[in-house]
Symmetry: C2
Subunit: 260 residues, 2 copies
DNA sequence: TTTGAAATGGGGGATTCACCTCATTCAGCC
DNA sequence: GGCTGAATGAGGTGAATCCCCCATTTCAAA
């Protein structure tokens, strides 16, 4: 009971958009399922695997398709790409329909992001191995993915051989995070030292709201917002709104394309 | 003479990094060369073309290589990829060495960006047709590329058929900007209403510097910086640093990955 | 049960920001 | 020569920021 409450708190302010899209009670259900043991081991003897590819760039999808279906790259494994998706919703639909052995996923996609697709895949097709192949390096997103239980995590900026070599192991139930990302996680100095409330207020600050506006929005005193702001800046070692926003950008906390 | 001076002014503060890397007098020389007529017509009868691919993601390079070398995609044209580059400097080196018929280029690359590679290519291999294939949509970068005289401009977010279909025409001396980007250029409201100095100060503001720091950096009074800041915000119709940064991000004036 | 972390709020002060008005210099243009 | 636009700089005002001080309450962990 207490652990459920804690989990609830952990998810509450993680990323605002995520909470708005599917609701955080729903999210808790997903985490319950995700923590249940998976039965991927029964596929040990199979030689043919199905895959779904989700990336907003067609050139990446076609490149991945060629690479995955060429057994000389992914050694000894016969992989067939049964569906491609150019956005998050299409990816979720494809997973529901095909329930593939693996899903290769980008993080930044239109309509629904990689994290949403990951948790929805766990819900509708828990046996699907989810491999995230992305160009981002923002610490926030990376830790989100790992906490959500991604099975494989590879960077587009690195040599693809790392991906091809580890696909068989992941298909057999293994889990692999590329050194590119583990070093990002290791080098995170204070990472998630921010409290839920601080994270929430950071989102409103970078949205361009003043202390007064934030206080009205949250129904608390402007002085309290100021208090949180001070703690925030001390923790992150920045000394102005501009630096605060620059930090948030690097960590992927805000969406550059979002309107003010 | 007057037009040359005007061009000089246009380039002076376009993007600070660009000016720092190669110097703006050098840039003017490149523009002179770029405006000179090209002699690509002599290749009308050739059946084999050489290409260099530059993209920081290996999966995109391999996908492009497969697509370009498949004559069913690029109809009737035999294209051979003679070199690949994962960053801007490698791309420039490859162009110098191979002087290819075409260069397929991404905009956001490590070490040197797509615009720098484009102007350097014009300098060292003026006959090379430069095709930019990118995922960005920031108005600033797009207009920069068009002004620099890119031969083809295609979006990764759109259907790749548009690229494949137009490569032969571009190889024969044509020029093609995808509708995806022309609509971005058309919808630009006021674009370059900012003066050179204002653009420069905007860059320092979004870098997190205070008026005092900026005044010290530029050797002018803090009051003058304040003056520019006020004009800046009036022109862009924003009322806080946060909104200012959000604007700069949308227009691609700053690099989200840059350190403070 | 104590301890501590987190959220809440208040007072105050130094600094900076945002936005006025006004003036000068210097370049290019008709 | 006069005009315009850009850059420069001064003075001032009200608001907001940044950072101290202080306190209470709640809740979970030791």
């Amino acid at each position: 009971m207490t652990s459920a409450k804690k989990r609830k708190a952990d998810l509450q302010y993680g990323v605002i958009t995520l909470r708005n899209v599917i609701g955080y009670n729903h999210l808790c259900d997903i985490v319950e399922q995700e923590n249940a043991p998976r039965q991927a081991e029964q596929k040990f003897e199979m030689s043919h695997f199905t895959a779904v590819i989700a990336d907003d760039h067609a050139i990446v999808r076609s490149g991945l398709k060629v690479a995955l279906e060429n057994e000389r790259l992914v050694d000894g494994h016969n992989i067939g790409v049964v569906a491609e998706a150019g956005n998050g919703l299409d990816a979720i639909a494809a997973v529901k329909q095909h329930r593939p052995d693996m899903l290769v996923l980008d993080v930044s996609m239109p309509v629904a992001g990689g994290v949403e697709v990951l948790v929805e895949t766990r819900r509708w097709s828990p046996d699907t191995r989810v491999i995230v192949f992305t160009g981002i390096s923002a610490m926030g997103k990376v830790s989100e993915l790992v906490e959500a239980g991604v099975d494989g995590l590879f960077s587009k900026a690195e040599d693809n051989q790392d991906l091809y070599r580890n696909v068989p192991m992941i298909l057999q139930g293994g889990r692999y995070i590329s050194p590119f990302f583990t070093s990002i996680l290791d080098n995170a100095p204070q990472q998630s030292v921010l409290t839920d409330r601080e994270r929430q207020i950071l989102n409103l600050i970078v949205a361009g709201q003043s202390n007064k506006e934030i206080s009205a929005h949250l129904g608390i005193s402007a002085k309290t917002v100021d208090r949180h702001r001070t703690n925030l800046m001390q923790k992150l070692d920045v000394h102005s709104v501009a630096q605060l926003i620059a930090y948030s950008l690097r960590e992927g906390l805000i969406d550059p394309a979002a309107e003010i």
